[in-house]
């Protein structure tokens, strides 16, 4: 059965989490993400789940990691300043292969910035905000419906690859209200218990596809989970070059080798386009409007909508770079993902940036005017 609602993005996200099987939320209030915590504080006890408001964002993600190892799908939600505080434990979640979802409803930044306005300044922080080599999965919704759908997707990817998944939304999507179709029977990915005997089980085995089944605490596996470099048993092994490279490469490759499964993009009018607009998150709304108007006026313009900024959709961008002469990245920062596009496309297409900071969505007419200047 489907239900239609007219709700805010943040509420859609929280409802998506419940549908995905999230039964623990640990968070700390921060604008513009707070409605997610507020909604879940009401909803979780009704589905036999737990909600806790922690003392800061560091402990918020700490509690989420702990809850995940207790065998519960868990989530936190925050915005820029809180996301910064979470970085160290995001690295721990990567290293310990703890599935969880972190929602970042981005606001104007740096620092405290613009709490009630939108921004996309955390894209690169999402990539490598914690220290060390790692790959991450990040998903950016551009509608309230997508905030619901992508939160479910986020939980499924987190379980599938045992990674922290970042939902990089922004204030526009978080606070906007739109009609959402809520499916009752969404497809969720259940966590898989190890099949092996307790004695034979290697919790961090160097398996081909990179991801091991995950027992929870209290299952009798007596596993040791550490942020230190560890061997297949999970025991610290901090001075073996081989153990370190084996572990870190497996963690990185379980994302990189499954790009095709993880990456999601949408595109339109790209085949004959002279110029393709590229974006993610709420500015995609401006992009599509600009393309609509442009096409009606005979401008050969198309768009590529990136649903998963990380891992970066290299093949998709490369393909478009071969057919279009110009690519223009539209983002609400001073140019972050544009460097990724440049890295992939610079030999085949001219890469341009349409940058809008200040907290409001780029205007479609402004985008088109810049397109006109280029063509």
């Amino acid at each position: 059965m489907t239900k239609e609602l007219f709700i805010q993005g943040n509420e859609a996200c929280a409802r998506g989490a419940i549908e995905a099987g999230c039964r623990f939320f640990g968070g700390y209030p921060i604008t513009p993400s707070t409605e997610i915590a507020e909604y879940l504080s009401i909803a979780l006890p009704k589905v036999s789940g737990s909600f806790i408001q922690m003392e800061d964002e560091i402990s918020a993600i700490g509690s989420v990691i702990g809850a995940s190892w207790s065998g519960i799908k868990s989530m936190t939600a925050t915005s820029g300043p809180g996301f910064s505080l979470m970085q160290e434990n995001i690295g721990f979640a990567v290293m310990s292969e703890t599935p969880l979802v972190i929602v970042n409803v981005q606001r104007g930044s740096p620092s405290t910035g613009q709490p009630t306005m939108a921004g996309q300044g955390d894209m690169m922080q999402a990539r490598w905000g914690s220290h060390g080599d790692y790959e991450t999965i990040a998903i950016s919704p551009s509608s309230v419906q997508e905030f619901f759908d992508f939160t479910i997707l986020g939980f499924n990817l987190a379980e599938k690859y045992r990674v922290p998944v970042l939902i990089l939304a922004d204030e526009v999507i978080g606070h906007m209200r739109e009609k959402v179709r809520l499916q009752d029977n969404v497809e969720t990915l259940k966590r898989i218990k190890p099949k092996e005997d307790l004695k034979d089980f290697l919790p961090f085995k160097n398996v081909e596809n990179g991801t091991n089944p995950m027992p929870s605490f209290g299952d009798g596996y007596n596993i040791h989970v550490t942020g230190l470099t560890h061997n297949e048993l999970g025991y610290p092994s901090t001075i073996s070059p081989k153990d370190h490279s084996t572990l870190v490469k497996r963690l990185v490759n379980k994302i990189l080798k499954n790009r095709e499964d993880i990456i999601s993009t949408d595109f339109k009018y790209c085949d004959d386009a002279d110029i393709v607009l590229i974006g993610y998150g709420s500015p995609v709304r401006s992009i599509i409007e600009a393309v609509k108007i442009g096409r009606k006026n005979g401008v050969k313009i198309g768009y590529l909508k990136i649903n998963t900024p990380w891992p970066f959709p290299e093949n998709e961008v490369a393909k478009i770079a071969k057919s279009a002469d110009d690519l223009m990245v539209v983002e609400m920062n001073l140019g972050q993902m544009v460097h990724e596009v440049e890295r992939i496309a610079k030999n085949n297409a001219n890469v341009h940036l349409f940058s809008e900071i200040g907290g409001t969505l780029p205007k479609p007419t402004d985008i088109l005017n810049k397109v006109k200047e280029l063509l």
């Binding site: 099987g21 039964r23 623990f24 640990g26 006890p45 009704k46 589905v47 036999s48 789940g49 737990s50 909600f51 806790i52 922690m54 003392e55 800061d56 560091i58 402990s59 918020a60 700490g62 509690s63 989420v64 990691i65 702990g66 809850a67 995940s68 190892w69 207790s70 065998g71 519960i72 799908k73 868990s74 160290e88 434990n89 721990f92 599935p99 379980e159 969720t188 259940k190 966590r191 898989i192 218990k193 929870s216 605490f217 209290g218 299952d219 009798g220 596996y221 007596n222 596993i223 040791h224 989970v225 550490t226 942020g227 230190l228 048993l233 025991y235 610290p236």
Partner: protein
């Protein structure tokens, strides 16, 4: 056939009755000889046995520092987390599955410097965790720096002229924050310590047990207490029971280590309250291990 030493016939269990709880493939430990952590582990395991707690239902959580390496040597589920944050991980673990017995091993730096905020909030919430804080008054893992519990005047690599800082009294701190069981002993009191650990484990709420412990390698060497024996002797000589301490003035207590059980009271516990709320709102307790079925 070569003649065997007599020692070869002594089993591990005879050497240490608690060896069965260890991950034997991880021994020897990284701890220095004479370190107080060994006494603490034995006292903990003794307390665990006397509290009749199922070892298989035990989860150990720790942060960073020498004390935080303890869980890695014991053969139960263990989570070795980031510096100072163990209690917040433990909070999620306990709420996620209130049936687990969750014990946190931490140190003075881990619990009261970088992790001080989590410590007081866990005490405030009275969440059922047992926190064993091995306080050696120094940062051992990083090579002997001053800590928030280093006595004024004590020497450390970052207090070369003697510490000019005022130390925390961890007992007062967690008591004020609302912990429902609070105890302090030194490594010179292994029996009393194991009894307090037992009481802490049995307390349905936030239990904090401080173990004043020796770090002969850094604290001792810097502060004219070179051998473990001299340090333990110092603990013994300077310890004073809470009951006696209550009759003494602040001046008389200067330089003394007050030991005993400071708080043991019943107070509503957090994970139970969350469970109860779930029961009221959904008709059942919070769902355990739901990631495998949802």
């Amino acid at each position: 056939m070569a003649e065997k030493n007599k020692q070869d016939f002594i089993t591990d269990e005879e050497k240490n009755p608690y060896i069965k709880y260890f991950r034997k493939d991880r021994l020897p430990t990284i701890f220095c000889s004479g370190c107080g952590i060994g006494i603490t582990i034995n006292s903990f395991l003794k307390g665990l046995e006397s509290a009749d707690i199922d070892f298989n239902n035990l989860s150990l959580v720790s942060g960073i520092g020498c004390s935080s390496r303890v869980p890695g040597y014991l053969n139960c589920d263990s989570l070795h987390t980031t510096h100072g944050r163990a209690i917040s991980f433990a909070t999620g673990l306990k709420i996620g599955n209130p049936d687990l017995n969750v014990v946190v091993f931490t140190g003075d730096g881990d619990a009261s410097a970088i992790g001080g905020n989590h410590l007081i909030h866990a005490a405030r919430r009275n969440i059922n965790l047992t926190v064993i804080c091995i306080n050696n008054n120094i940062y051992g893992m990083t090579g002997g720096q001053v800590s928030p519990t280093s006595p004024e005047g004590s020497l450390a690599t970052t207090a070369p002229y003697g510490s000019i800082d005022t130390p925390f009294n961890l007992i007062d701190l967690v008591t004020a924050a609302g912990a429902s069981f609070v105890g302090r002993w030194t490594t010179a009191h292994p029996l009393q310590l194991s009894k307090s650990i037992k009481n802490g484990l049995l307390n349905n709420g936030f239990s904090f047990i401080e173990v004043v412990s020796q770090c002969p390698t850094y604290y001792g060497r810097k502060n004219k207490l070179k051998t473990p024996v001299s340090m333990i002797k110092m603990f013994k000589e300077n310890s004073i029971n809470k009951r006696r301490a209550d009759t003494l003035s602040e001046e008389e207590l200067l330089g003394k280590i007050v030991v005993g059980e400071f708080v043991n009271k019943k107070r509503e516990e957090l994970s139970k309250k969350i469970d109860d709320l779930s029961y009221i709102k959904s008709g059942r307790n919070t769902i355990r291990k739901s990631a495998y079925i949802l």
